[in-house]
Subunit: 444 residues, 2 copies
Amino acid sequence: MQDKIIQLLEEKKFALLKQELKEMRAADIAEVFDELDKKNSVILFRLLAKDEAADVFSHLASHQQRDIVEAIHETHLDEIIEELFFDDMIDFLEEMPANVVKRVLASSTEEERKLINQFLNYPENAAGSWMTIEYVDLRKEMTVKQAMNHIKKIGLDKETIYTCYVLNNKRKLEGIVSLRKLVLFDDDLLIADVMNDDFIAGHTLDDQEEVASLFKKYDLLTLPIVDKEDRLVGIITIDDIIDVIDQETTEDFQKMAAMEPSEEEYLYSGTFALARRRIPWLLLLMVSATFTEGIIGRFEDILQAVAILAASIPMLMDTAGNAGSQSSTLIIRGMALGEIELEDYLKVFWSELRVSFVVGAALGLLNFLRMMIFVRAEIGFAITVSVTLVLTIMMAKVVGGTLPIAAKKMKLDPAIMAGPMITTIVDALALIVYFNIASALLGL
Amino acid sequence: MQDKIIQLLEEKKFALLKQELKEMRAADIAEVFDELDKKNSVILFRLLAKDEAADVFSHLASHQQRDIVEAIHETHLDEIIEELFFDDMIDFLEEMPANVVKRVLASSTEEERKLINQFLNYPENAAGSWMTIEYVDLRKEMTVKQAMNHIKKIGLDKETIYTCYVLNNKRKLEGIVSLRKLVLFDDDLLIADVMNDDFIAGHTLDDQEEVASLFKKYDLLTLPIVDKEDRLVGIITIDDIIDVIDQETTEDFQKMAAMEPSEEEYLYSGTFALARRRIPWLLLLMVSATFTEGIIGRFEDILQAVAILAASIPMLMDTAGNAGSQSSTLIIRGMALGEIELEDYLKVFWSELRVSFVVGAALGLLNFLRMMIFVRAEIGFAITVSVTLVLTIMMAKVVGGTLPIAAKKMKLDPAIMAGPMITTIVDALALIVYFNIASALLGL
């Protein structure tokens, strides 16, 4: 389907192309833009029917939106902006350069301008920045029948009609009522009697992660967002929450791999943008790792005497790092999902102690056998490496399991206490253990 | 709120407790069970009103469900099972021991039994295992008004009424129509004219990850699932898809940290269950890491001559590992989100080459200055370490960026090509580079 579009575009068969586009879903059309250069993007966009254009536009990545905005005529842009849902417009404006924002604001009414500015000012990770204002508002005094008629009249332009919001004349949120109830309940009941006044609501400055967990816990489709005076300012819908979940997870992945998080797509990020997010943590960890230099330096005479001791250092470091990553990953993810709480500190400690003993003993034994049978190492050397391995795995797992919780306790993001950090910490401990056991066992 | 419940439970103030429970949401009550032992769990569960009990039950973890099932009376269990939505019942039965499943099947009708068995047989990661059967079915010949009346009659027991399914008399899915349209459109239009016959549907054996990406791409609230003859067998709702997304992400995290994935919650997993999932990969990586032993063994004479060379090995390994993790994490996540495709292989390769040069040069330079100024190392040694660092970072990033794509190309899960695997591979390369540069530069 997409290949066909691209082919028609290249052959400049625009009439056929227009026909073809009418049959397609906006999300599928938007995907075609990933394969096009700027010039063809603009051509394809111009071929879209008016009502389809806004829908496709809201599905595009922000760099694609920018390309199109720069190329299309002002009146055409105004038409698209008008068709966008409010939250899609805000998403779009947040990523645009100042001149585009100005152009959009210039063609808005005074009231719209105020609202846009208010929404653009919400912090990026706050509930406010995900809201839309196209909701259905009802009054307590309405009957179910009146409410349904009201919905029929105004519903077409609303992002959802499945949850309706009951406001008083100061726009204070008094209750919510689902369309399900309106359909299933008797026509002449009062909204006041069918609405739910014990509803869940969020605030504009709530963190998006908290909002997402409300959706998960209570299986919500929408969440009303109120201001300090409990006035309804907007609603968040479940489709945006899925984006929040993906975004938060991506952030965790990036932090756990020692990077500054970014929302930019990899393929559309510049070299220096990518490098800048990677250097700081890498540098910090590199400098921390040089502690190990000092430790090895201190034991240089032992190493001089038995140079082969160095041979096992990488294996010990790698295994320690991997063992620690396993534990820290499980704990960080468990905390992100709310399965592990701060109070579980001791439970995690004991669990990791037991598990690490089992894992360490198994790997230590297998390594001992490996060194004796395949490497034909001296028994003292084999014991040194294997005992170090057991102790290192245990340290790595206990540190890996508990440090993320400690980080959270200190109001830091647990995700920074992932593999890279744990490896750096445990490596130094492992070397000290290694050389001490070696000098005791090998009589150095 | 939860503390109050626990306190009332301990003080055996059951009448007050019952009152309190009536005011609470099922999801909040379910959370209380996390804090209770088996005995108190059963007491609390018995205090729940009949209609609330099933709702709370569906929110419990499977080990809690098992505790309760084992303790409550058979007729009470039957009542709860009857109240559960079909997908929640299947979720529950999947985790129960055979005797519980038998008990439930024994008290079902012949038809129910057939259906339950069919659903229990869908593979765990298939769309079929997430379906529910409580949907609204309509006929093409109905008018909008007739459809609305039909919904009023049967809607109460349906998991959702917001999307309705138009079936022919062989239960073949002919179209879908949203409640939104039914409400907004004229009463006397025919369903055949308002329904969407160009709908998106899944199949029972579709992978849950593919299904989740359909929901994301098309902003769906529900997805119909059909069999090979296009007959509707069930629907999947968005709340289950959020669970799928969380579960798939957790799997990725676990695989990327070199563990066998598991759905069991950390705090409720036994020591040996946890250990068993960690040992295989750790062992494989440990054995692979012993390649480095051989490499160091081969350069033992160099090491004997300049023992201090060993001092930088951990720092080089750690930095290589971290640099590789950064790249592989970005690529694995990008592929999971569908932002990076197989065809982007070359783009990723070039991007990582450029980025790794910038990162490597920055870190190499800083390391050189550090060694000259703070460690007062010999210049030959400082150059050896710094040049190795640059080359190692470049190798780590290029390997880390491209191996996940190669894995996917070979139909393997890209997530296994994460930090641990990349570290193991790059460590060996790094050592070879290190000793070769050392012997060339230091004239060994």
